[in-house]
Amino acid sequence: MNFQAVKSIYSFEMARFFRTLSQSLISPVLSTSLYFIVFGAAIGSRIEQIDGVSYGAFIVPGLIMLSVLTQSISNASFGIYFPKFLGSIYELHTAPVSFVEIVLGYVGAAATKSALIGLVILATATFFVDFHILHPVAMLAFLLLTCVSFSLFGFIIGVWSKNFEQLQMVPLLVITPLVFLGGSFYSISMLPPLWQTVTLFNPVVYLISGFRWAFFGAADINIGLSLAMIALFMFVCLGIIWWTFKTGYKIRT
């Protein structure tokens, strides 16, 4: 195991984050603030409480997840796609590193970034709504698990993308609908029975439900099941990455 290489990749990726700090932080914070103003304050004041929580507070976990998922995917996919685009990826192939070091470096950095963004958004939320977190440790654990598993997913997208369009396509066409339909803004118990069933095929539902449980103690889905589903998603991603590197698919000719 080449830890120095992991450190190199990790710190190089983090340097990119801090170089573009304004871009990295301001845009998610700004857009989340707008959500709080519109859905939390303006519309939320006319919506009754859900599970004993005000609507403004109810959407906090979902909004954090919304940003964290998008950021994890875009950070990780861009991180590995950019060297591919530049051609500088040759360095990774010719260095004494296996996919383990590469994934730890790139996914670790992407997950760190999105976790930081998640925490900043959480801090921002306290300016708009009153809430307190029932299970802070579980909240952090859910946040980190989500960051890691979706950074893995983003990494796969980055490896498989042939151009910038494809890189944008998956987050845009797949993730945004999954997040919006995953219960960010509502409890899935509000849906008609048919759609409740359909929703259970959406992995994001388990994330948001579990994350919300950590905040307020109430969940749409059993917390154990939520955790199991995230773990499953993470292992599927790891498996795909392992296979991709083993066969050289899209990586080596």
Binding site: Q4, R19, T94, A95, P96, T253
Partner: protein, 308 residues
């Protein structure tokens, strides 16, 4: 001494069906400069890409320092530095950071003294804090070399190092290569410029259509394949070559009244003395005589023609 790079029966067929390498065997000795010579698409880049880990071979094996490039990739790659053909640098990175990154990938901590000596050798020390995107093309290429050297490889691969490089930089590059050789680094470079191979290499391997046609010491190659030619300019026009000179297989060009005689440079008998005697007997008066050695280019063209 066992070779530092050993390639056995290496073949590569791309998914498109294109056979880029055909059963290549090659041993490279430690400390030598080997030039892989061949036209575009001959398989040079594929060969070094397999050794460096960029391309998976279809069959066969390659070892560097006794380590298999697939099974013991960590040990093998630790010994290798690669300067790629295309300039590929992270644009926002400074030169210093670029070196630090590469050295880190090879599991080594930053060594400021080493980085300084490499950058100075490549006239990049002044640019150490400059972002790579602000450098000229020639400097970017030198950054690639610096990156390849910063983890102290024992084998350095230079893929078309002088493609699109001006004369000045080319000269600098050869100085660096000679310096590295003096430091004991084994150097493998690919080129389609024969002059380059002739200028810098100890041995030359000729690749064509995925086959390694031959690998020879440059001097041996020149001797073995090299023909000398003598051009004899005459005072008078000839209607035809006199019968008495038929055995010399002379070529006659009427335009400049010149006879051309080919002979083996290192043959036991060149036949030159006899030819002069016979020319004189035939009553031909000479104006001028010139001899030339065939270049690697002539040799290469000859080899490729033989094969096809």
């Amino acid at each position: 001494m066992s070779p530092i790079v050993s390639i056995q029966n290496l073949s590569k067929q791309y998914a498109s069906g294109f056979q880029a390498l055909k059963n290549v065997d090659l041993d490279i000795e430690e400390g030598e400069i080997l030039a892989l010579l061949g036209p575009n698409g001959a398989g040079k880049t594929t060969l070094i890409s397999i050794i460096c880990g960029l391309v998976n071979a279809t069959s066969g094996a390659a070892k560097v320092g006794g380590f298999d490039v697939v099974d013991d990739f960590r040990e093998a790659r630790s010994l290798i530095g690669l300067v790629p053909q295309e300039i590929a640098l992270e644009p926002f990175q400074t030169v210093n950071d670029a070196l630090r990154f590469t050295r880190g990938l090879f599991g080594k901590r930053q060594d400021d003294a080493l980085a300084k000596s490499i950058l100075e050798k490549l006239s990049l020390w002044d640019k150490r804090d400059t972002k790579t995107m602000e450098l000229s093309g020639g400097m970017k290429r030198r950054v690639l070399i610096a990156k390849a050297l910063c983890h102290e490889p024992r084998v350095l691969f230079l893929d078309e190092p002088t493609a699109g490089v001006d004369v000045e930089l080319r000269k600098e590059m050869w100085d660096v290569v000679r310096q590295l050789k003096a430091d004991g680094v084994t150097i493998i470079l690919t080129t389609h410029y024969i002059e380059e191979a002739e200028e810098i290499a100890d041995r030359v391997g000729v690749i064509h259509n995925g086959e390694l046609l031959l690998v020879e010491k440059k001097a041996t190659l020149m001797q073995r394949m090299g023909k000398r030619q003598m051009r004899i300019e005459l005072m008078q026009q000839l209607a035809s070559i006199p019968q008495s000179l038929a055995s010399y297989n002379l070529d006659y060009t009427a335009d400049d009244q010149t006879l051309t005689y080919s002979y083996e440079a290192n043959g036991e008998r060149t036949g030159i003395a006899a030819l002069f005697a016979d020319l004189s007997k035939a009553g031909l008066i000479l104006r001028d005589v010139e001899t030339r050695q065939s270049s690697l280019e002539d040799i290469f063209v000859g080899l490729v023609e033989d094969k096809s």
